[in-house]
């Protein structure tokens, strides 16, 4: 990242970050910053909220209003912030365990309300901070330190989950497709409503090593090779997409936004005490 951009958005004295060599999270964090820069948001009005886990260390490096909360609860804290002060741009950076296991309930309800929060899940398919246990997005059959014989759980399709719960802007990209992440986050922030971006990361240290996926570059190459843009499959019905990562802008709809709806109630009833 250019020095100019870094100095503008990072708390430079906190870098280098704590993430392992080859961890995709650094790439994703840069993409998020690029999106904020492209939009020219006022830094004082940006609030980045996270839970607990590797991804959730991101806010500590970012020069905004930043809140590192409890495990799984980022969206619940963020909902309070957005509700109390709708002028803030609220961005949640979370992980697969944080958002889909312990925080799954908050995810579906934040999406259901269509509250104007942009959620970016740094999905590395593993609990990295605790040393590599399987998560709700560890592919079935893959190993974790708590799935030594292979994980028998079915893994979540987070984008389908978010869309089903009511997210009005939903997209997916990978650490390899850093510019696409930027585009999706940018459009997510612009969307007046709940936006959900699944950003596939790589964890060479735990997930990669445990599952013999090679080094960081090998894992990045896999993201490249396995991905197919949603636009490219639109007219193809026969293609086998089972092992494919479908990237791009997946679902988009217009629904009333929560804090705007509440504002209407205030405007209607404020005078009658």
């Amino acid at each position: 990242m250019s020095n100019k951009l870094a100095k503008k958005y990072f708390r430079m004295d906190k870098l280098p970050h704590i993430w392992c060599p080859g961890c995709g999270h650094g790439i994703l964090m840069r993409s998020v910053i690029q999106a904020i820069d492209n939009l020219g948001l006022n830094k004082d009005k940006v609030c980045v909220v996270s839970g607990i886990g590797c991804s959730s260390r991101a806010p500590g490096y970012l020069d905004f209003n930043t809140l590192h909360t409890t495990h799984g609860r980022a969206l619940a804290f963020a909902t309070g912030i957005k509700m109390a002060n709708p002028d803030l741009h609220v961005i949640v950076v979370t992980g697969d365990g944080d958002s889909a296991a312990i925080g799954g309930n908050h995810l579906i309800h934040a999406a259901r309300r269509n509250i104007d929060i942009t959620t970016v899940v740094f999905n590395n398919n593993i609990y990295g901070m605790t040393g590599g246990q399987y998560s709700p997005t560890t592919p079935t059959g893959d190993k974790g330190t708590t799935a030594p014989y292979g994980n028998i759980d079915k893994n979540f399709d987070l984008c389908k989950l978010a869309k089903g719960a009511g997210s009005t802007y939903t997209g997916r990209a990978t650490a390899y497709h850093a510019n696409l992440i930027t585009k999706l986050v940018q459009k997510g922030i612009e969307n007046k409503g709940f936006s959900f971006i699944e950003a596939l990361s790589v964890c060479p240290t735990y997930y990669g090593r445990k599952n013999k996926k090679g080094d960081a570059s090998d894992m990045m190459k896999h993201l490249k090779d396995a991905s197919i843009n949603v636009k490219a499959i639109k007219n193809k019905t026969n293609e086998n997409l089972e092992d494919k990562i479908i990237i791009g802008e997946l679902y988009n709809s217009q629904e009333p936004e929560y804090t705007e709806q509440y504002k209407k109630i205030i405007n209607r009833f404020k005078k009658e005490r």
Partner: protein, 378 residues
């Protein structure tokens, strides 16, 4: 003639009125008996003042949203009962660690678990102090009438702001649902404390640095331009995480000391007929109402009995309890649990006097006659 503002209302309603008088403008909650009216009335009243109400998906989320609201500058409250209070605990610890002012109402009902949802209890006294993990500061207040619920809720907000600490309003089902006459004070007669904030142009602002002469660090609201970091990790004066043992030691001591060293400012209680007595009843909340009647009954029978009624449950009113313990032959702690506040009283008073306990956990109130019998028995 000036129009008076006398109303008949239940404790839960008085709680909301007190909160509004104190400046509450944000409430996040989840329905649970017997606290639900607090959420219902808040949902109805808040938007009329331009405030915000949100019903969250669970108790954990309501505590989180309450903290989120407070971080933007709001005076925030949530309300719950036993099972929900258990669920809120992790985030209450977060509020204690990150010094986020907020009020948590716990209308106590019979426990453990789902217990007796519509019956009163006082079984959450220890949980109010020790429910979340680790050593941490907490203030808990317990009213024993509808009027006092109003006043204590105002105090809860003021203390939360002054000490940047979560304050638990420990009600019980009887106080919550009982209807009494209450005169709502005029706006100008309600003392309101606001959090201290940094000067707008303070370029040296460090989010967790206590300025000389202050008790807590000034608190900027998110969005005001200070762009600081808040975490539940051990942090230094800048607010950023640290693994340094000295930093951890200094932080946790500062958090605990800000309450312990200001206990006089946080001490609220009532002494009833405590001069020249040999028996002291210690009781609080709805049980204290029975205790007061029992004191009168006992004195009418020629005994010398008085009542000490703590309104501040945490921090413990050590000085007052020790002073009284030195003057009496015996203390009876009457409470709707199997001996929780009694543990604190024993810790402080057993050196000086006998400490007895009268407890009840069947969902019925402790009656004046039961207390009178206990006085006679001991």
């Amino acid at each position: 003639m000036e129009k008076n503002n006398i109303k008949l209302m239940q404790g839960n309603e008085a709680c909301v009125e007190g909160a509004l008088a104190a400046g509450m403008n944000f409430f996040a909650g989840y329905p649970i008996t017997p606290s639900t009216e607090i959420a219902e009335i808040s949902s109805q009243r808040l938007p009329r003042f331009g405030g915000k109400f949100i019903q969250m998906e669970d108790e954990i989320a309501s505590m989180a949203a309450t903290i989120g609201g407070a971080l933007t500058g709001a005076k925030a409250m949530t309300a719950t009962s036993g099972p929900g209070f258990s669920l809120k605990q992790e985030n209450i610890g977060y509020a204690a660690m990150a010094e986020i002012p907020c009020v948590i109402v716990n209308v106590q009902r019979g426990g453990p678990s789902t217990g007796l949802p519509t019956s009163p209890a006082q079984g959450d006294v220890m949980q109010a102090k020790w429910g979340t993990h680790g050593d941490h500061p907490i203030i808990a207040l317990t009213p024993s009438s509808v009027k006092e619920t109003f006043d204590t809720t105002v105090k809860a907000f003021n203390l939360a702001e002054k000490y940047r600490v979560p304050v638990v309003l420990l009600m019980d089902e009887v106080i919550a649902h009982m209807r009494e006459k209450i005169e709502i004070p005029k706006k100008e007669d309600v003392e309101i404390m606001d959090r201290i904030k940094p000067d707008e142009d303070d370029v040296t602002y460090q989010a967790y640095e206590v300025k000389k002469g202050d008790i807590v660090p000034p608190m900027a609201s998110f969005g005001e331009g200070f762009r600081y970091h808040v975490t539940g990790l051990v942090h230094d004066e800048t607010g950023f995480p640290s693994n340094d043992t000295e930093v951890a030691d200094k932080l946790i001591h500062r958090l605990v000391d800000k309450i312990d060293k200001n206990v006089d400012d946080i001490s609220f209680y009532e002494e009833y007929k405590t001069n020249d007595i040999d028996t002291l009843i210690i009781s609080y909340g709805s049980t204290a109402r029975s205790a007061k009647t029992a004191v009168d009954m006992a004195n009418n029978e020629g005994m010398n009995v008085g009542l000490f009624r703590p309104i501040t449950i945490w921090p413990t009113l050590e000085k007052q309890i020790i002073d009284l313990a030195k003057k009496v032959d015996k203390i009876i702690v009457a409470e709707m649990n199997l001996g929780q506040y009694a543990l604190e009283v024993e810790r402080l008073a057993s050196k000086y006097t006998q400490v007895h306990h009268l407890g009840k956990i069947d969902g019925d109130l402790i009656t004046p006659n039961e207390i009178l019998s206990k006085i006679k028995e001991v």
